[in-house]
């Protein structure tokens, strides 16, 4: 569709209308973020009065000072980094060798093992048995529990397996001639050839770890171990229960709205930083995963 000439006036109207509509959708997607950013830099008084529409009103960074001076904020930030990095490395340590083994034609019972993976995507024991299992394994309230408990994911495993299966046999033959064993073939042949697929899986892991909330909330009680998302939730929930928060101060320099907005901005920034890298891979990743089961 690229180099097509516009033939008629109708086409021109169509193309322009279409652009306007897409532009409007993009703006309506972007607007809430701009609103939140502006809110976070406005004074509590202006926020309370509903005067913040697009740009910061009565510019101040007091909401950020309030958030950044809370030690709990930094603890949870650090924890999120631990869960994200630890969890992603753990996932890759399971998924890369697992996917390689599942992709090998000589694997005995290959159909059975693949079905065993696929079945977990169709049938799930549910919240309660999973929770009780984590408790029985002694993994409540532990860093290790969060990191290991969500390491393998059927979708990612199958995505990488499909990619490995698509690598022509000729690539590994030279290495086999040199007497390479399976580990060496995986390490020296398959992994370098699969960089985009591995990056895709790693980025999926990073995003889901960074954003992970529900199980962290359920499995972690200790305030020193909670990740950013749980901290964010606690803060927004307690602040919104206490609607008068901040406004009792004489200058009302911050309020529930501005502090919530400031925390939101602080936790979005790392996502925005990695987003360009993610974008490079995820389109390909989605299509890779969709090809075969």
């Amino acid at each position: 569709m690229v180099n097509m000439n516009l033939y008629s006036r109708g086409d021109k109207i169509f193309v322009i209308t279409n652009m306007v509509l897409v532009g409007m959708f993009a703006i309506s997607t972007l607007y809430p973020f701009i609103y939140i950013a502006s809110l976070s830099m406005s004074s509590g008084f202006e926020a309370r009065a509903g005067n913040v529409i697009l740009t910061p009103m009565d510019f101040t960074l007091e909401a950020y000072q309030f958030v950044l001076s809370d030690p709990q904020f930094w603890i949870s930030y650090k924890n999120t980094f631990i869960y994200t990095i630890g969890g992603t490395l753990m996932s890759l340590a399971f998924i890369i060798p697992g996917a390689y083994a599942l992709s090998r034609p000589q694997l005995y019972g290959r159909r059975f093992w693949n079905l065993m993976v696929a079945f977990t995507m169709w049938f799930n024991a549910g919240l309660i048995p999973f929770f009780l299992n984590m408790r029985d394994l002694g993994l409540l309230d532990s860093y290790f529990g969060i990191i290991i408990g969500f390491a393998v994911n059927g979708f990612n495993l199958i995505l990488l397996r499909n990619f490995f299966e698509g690598i022509p046999k000729s690539f590994e033959e030279a290495a086999r001639m040199d007497g390479a064993n399976e580990f060496q073939v995986l390490w020296k042949v398959f992994m370098p050839l699969s960089k985009p697929a591995i990056a895709t899986v790693a980025l999926f892991c990073i995003v889901s770890r960074w954003n992970g909330f529900f199980w962290a909330m359920v499995l972690l009680q200790d305030e020193d171990k909670i990740p950013l998302q749980v901290f964010l939730r606690h803060t927004i929930a307690t602040l919104s229960d206490d609607q008068e928060f901040g406004t009792t101060l004489i200058d009302a320099s911050y309020s529930f709205e501005t502090v919530s907005a400031a925390i939101i901005v602080c936790s979005i920034i790392p996502v925005l930083i990695v987003y360009p890298f993610i974008q490079k891979y995820f389109e390909k990743g989605i299509l890779l995963g969709g090809v075969k089961e």
């Binding site: 033939y7 193309v15 009065a49 169709w122 954003n211 907005a261």
Partner: protein, 331 residues
């Protein structure tokens, strides 16, 4: 299996062939074959083992734990030691108004999400496809994919802030038209529109990727001959692009219907409150409250089992339908 073996044993012909086989070169038994495999390919199995153990420990063991749905579970007796009570929990479940309400809400919310959320990414993909300016297209795509990567806690935080009764932008805007502030998130009638709308805002852009990929696969010759025939872009969009991606649309629709019990309950937990349970409470949030918050594990597990079995049947049906459909329509 058992019947097969018997037939094998009793059929004289097969017995004879077997006997001959034994005389010539003894066929290796199953165990010998496996041990041969292990000797040759042990490294592959070593790579597979951690994943298999993980699956058994974290996904299959909970399936064994599902038996508490039929038991009077107590923490002290454990899963195996708790006494069986048959279908008692299921009887209670189907007499429980809250559960039935949650079931109804799940289906209703899913239905609305499907009705309003399903066409949106298709429309977006068609529109993206008609944009000639590459930079504009790329920028718009970058923006609309973004919310997919933002956590539900943040999205909920934005929603809570934007709909806040005292200062939220939504109340400010309706105030311009003389409407009194509404505390939206405490109003049962507003929950579903807000939830479904948020879902569309967050996911529509990202979901358009799959349709864009389908559009990219449409043969350019179709458009070329249409241009020769003097077709307008509008006509080409409806008469060529849309019909060409119809198989993808139908497969996605089947898959979505198969997942009708999958509501993003994490978002619901973040947005609902007792005042809106009436329209907001879904099966998974019900299970969460009954089980994890109130400690009625066995009862909640029964609700979960019911949910999982129905979901499994729906997904399997959808899978086989979409497989059959894609075989007949694509090739």
């Amino acid at each position: 299996m058992a019947i097969d073996n018997q037939q094998l044993e009793t059929s004289p012909e097969k017995l004879a062939t077997r006997a001959r086989g034994v005389q010539r070169a003894r066929k290796p038994s199953r165990i010998e074959r496996i041990s041969d495999h292990l000797k040759r390919d042990w490294q592959i199995y070593l790579m597979l083992i951690p994943t298999i153990i993980w699956l058994l420990l974290f996904l299959y063991k909970p399936m064994y734990g599902l038996q508490i749905a039929f038991k009077d579970y107590s923490i002290f007796r454990g899963i195996a030691g708790s006494p069986w009570i048959g279908l008692d929990h299921f009887q209670t479940l189907f007499g429980n108004d809250q559960f039935l309400r949650a079931l109804r809400n799940t289906v209703i919310i899913s239905f609305y999400t499907l009705l309003f959320g399903f066409p949106m990414p298709i429309l977006l993909a068609l529109m993206f496809n008609e944009i000639l300016n590459r930079t504009f297209k790329k920028t718009a795509q970058t923006i609309v994919y973004l919310p997919h990567f933002i956590s539900s806690v943040i999205i909920a935080g934005i929603v809570i802030t934007a709909f806040s009764p005292s200062a939220g932008i939504v109340n400010t805007v309706i105030g311009w038209f003389g409407v009194d502030p509404i505390y939206f998130l405490t109003k049962p009638e507003w929950f579903r529109p807000i939830f479904v709308g948020t879902g569309i805002w967050q996911e529509a852009g990202f979901q358009s990727i799959i349709y864009l990929a389908a559009i990219a696969g449409v043969s350019p010759t179709l458009y070329e001959s249409a241009v020769v025939d003097g077709a307008s872009r509008w006509q080409m969009m409806w008469k060529i692009t849309l019909p060409s991606i119809m198989p993808t649309i139908i497969i996605m629709l089947i898959i979505r219907i198969g997942n009708i019990l999958e509501v993003s309950f994490e978002m619901i937990i973040l947005l609902y409150q007792p005042a809106t349970y009436e329209t907001a409470d879904v099966v998974n949030t019900f299970i969460f409250r009954q089980g994890i918050q109130s400690g009625q594990y066995d009862f909640a597990a029964a609700a979960g089992l019911f949910n999982a079995v129905v979901a499994f049947i729906l997904v399997m049906t959808a899978n086989s339908l979409s497989k059959r459909y894609s075989r007949t329509s694509l090739w």
